[in-house]
Each structure stands twice: as C-alpha cells, then as structure tokens.
Symmetry: C2
Subunit: 210 residues, 2 copies
C-alpha cells in the first residue's frame, strides 16, 4: 500500500510552519532558518553532524519515496508566478530526485531539473493530485512536502497516512499556522512525542482510521 507521508515538517511552539514577510531569498520570512537548525546540524545534512534522534528522523525524509506533492508557496516566494524563469529555490539539482507535483491555480509547463527531479504544475483538488502522484511514484510512497496550508488541506481531506512534525522551542507569533481548523485531528491518529537534547520535540501521527 502506497502511503502519503509528511516528514521533517518544522513548526514553532505556537504552530507556525513559516513566518511572515516571505520574499525572494527570505523563504521563511521572519522565522529565518530557526525552524530548521535542528536538521542542518544532523549527519544527514553535514559531515560530522549529530547521529541522535534528530538524525534518525531527518533520515526518513529520503526513505521510500517515489514522488512529492508541495504547495505553490513552497515552490517559491509570493510573486513567482509572474517570473517565467523561476525554477524553485533549490538550484539546478533539487533535493527531491523524483517527480514533484506543485499545486497551483496557475500551472505552467513541466520543468525537468538535474538529478531526477521534474516539477509538474497542477491545478486540481488534493484527491486528484494524490492520485497523479501515486501513479508517478511507481509503487513507492508519496511525500507531502508542505507548506502548512497544503498539509492542512490533505489532513482535512483524510488523505495523510503518517506525519512527522518537529516542534522547535521558539514562539514565532505570526506566519502560517499548521493547526488552524484542525480541531480534533488527533482522533484519527496514534500520536507519539519524543524530545531531543537539541530542544526539538518530534511528534509522529500515524493513521489509525482507514
């Protein structure tokens, strides 16, 4: 059974997955890199990095995926739709190495990058996008890459099989909040929490309903 999984999605104590004031080169707004330092410090991300619980979680990001789904917000900055040359913030060889489905109201032609990543731009509801991604994933799982708005959409539609969140001990105060409109969502999942010496708490939501 192919699964739809969220991995390494970082939020602040108050639930923000990104800050306010997003722009080209400032992809997380006033949050800066603070939501992702825990990840950058691991062996998955750099030689000599930590190999504790943060690394164990970070590593799952790459395990078993054949496609990714992401929102238009993750692909760029507010305004990228008007830049025909925009190819995402990851450079020539993005870290996905699979087909990536970018959900947007303003699709453009598919974009083949180095290293196996191809961006497909789709204007379709979550169920339909998941169907396309599963077919493209060729038997492997599909990663739901965020941002918060897209994760909320798929949670609300009951399409998420597993979700790993990293709660970072900062209070961002503003931005895009993952929890908005998700009252009671825990009832559909087995929830585990494990804190790391880095100060981050990893939460996993594993679907219990079918």
């Amino acid at each position: 059974m192919q699964q739809l999984r969220v991995h390494n999605f970082a939020i602040s104590l108050d639930g923000y997955g990104t800050g306010e004031g997003r722009a080209k080169g400032v992809f997380f707004g006033h949050a800066g890199e603070r939501l992702h330092e825990w990840m950058i410090d691991t062996a998955v991300w750099q030689e000599g990095g930590s190999r504790g619980v943060d690394n164990a979680f970070a590593a799952q990001y790459q395990q078993g995926f054949g496609a990714e789904i992401m929102g238009a917000g993750k692909f760029g900055y507010p305004g990228w739709h008007d830049d025909p040359d925009w190819k995402g913030p990851w450079g020539a060889n993005p870290p996905f190495h699979t087909p990536v489905f970018v959900m947007t109201r303003r699709p453009r032609p598919s974009l083949k990058m180095e290293g196996g990543t191809t961006f497909h731009f789709v204007d379709a509801p979550p169920e339909k996008v998941l169907e396309m991604a599963k077919e493209a994933a060729d038997g492997h799982d599909v990663r739901l890459g965020g941002g918060a708005t897209v994760i909320r959409q798929f949670l609300t539609a009951g399409l998420v099989d597993h979700m790993h969140l990293a709660v970072v001990p900062i209070v961002l105060g503003r931005g895009v909040n993952l929890w908005d409109g998700l009252e009671g969502i825990e009832r559909n999942f087995a929830v585990e929490a494990i804190s790391s010496p880095s100060g981050v708490t990893h939460l996993t939501f594993t679907r219990t309903t079918s």
Copy 2:
C-alpha cells in the same frame, strides 16, 4: 530570592490552556478534562498512580510556595462575579493551603477557607499583585496559577522566573491561547523539553535575563 513560578500549566498542541464554552461545572469548556488526564494519573493525585516523569513534574506544584496568584477566570466561570455565594470550584478545602490573590476588576471581601487557603480579591496591575503575594508568601515562592491570559500578562511584564508547561497531544482549535502576543518570549529563557510515555511533553522555561 523569592521566585514567581508556573507549574503544571497544560496546553494543547495548538496552545490552548482552556476550551470554549466555559460555564459553571464546565470549567475547561469543550476541552473537558483532556488537558489534565496526565496529571490525574500520577501518584501525586491518586494512590497507585504513575511515578515517572509526569509525577516528578506534578509534584513540584506543591514545593516551596507561600502564595498563589490567579486570574478571575480560574476562580470561577463566566458570571461568578454576580453570585455572592461563589467560593471557587474547589469545595471547602481548596488545594492551595496559602493566601491566593485573585485578580479581578470587581473585588469582594477576602474569603477564608479550610486548610489554610484564603482568597484575596485584588484589582491591581501584575507588578503590584506580585508585590502583595511575595509579602504574603513569607519568604517562600509565589505560584502563578493561570489561566492563560494571566500567564501572558506576567510573561509580557517580565515577571516570570520559571514556567512549566505540559503540552498534551490534542488539537483544541479554540479557547484561550497561551501563545498570543508572546513572539520571541523564548529569548528570555533557557527552554528544555522532555516527552513522557503518556504522550505529554513537558516544557520548562527558566529565566536567563534579570
């Protein structure tokens, strides 16, 4: 040095310290008892209860306090000000056993209960209330009992020395949110996180600024 400390203050994943729809007998609104089950299951609260990390934290609630400060919301339900016989939701022998300062715009005469608890009703700013409570505490610490609104007030005023929060893995969606207006508050504290097998994550904020 007398400290102002918060203990056992439970919030949902999305930061709510209480739910919506509070009323007489429904003191946490639609949250019910879900924010406090972790505490009720400990040896501090019941014979044969757990003696792990939840209990270690729960026990600190009673250690070293000579007074408590609470908000009008914690003392009762919306409307208690109009009930002259209201003595709080805890029965004849409340679990404080010290002077308790209830912050309210509509003070009433002090109320002496069994077991050493006396409620004093005060209409004053946080600094002033803390001063009164410290004097009454006779050298011991002062507990800041909540709710969320009052904790926010004291945090904003820079008066909190230590704060223990218990993050319960539920999404309440509505109620009173602890984090509102506290952007960047972590900069004044050393923050630790430790998860319990119960699913709760204990957060401690220890003041690093003077």
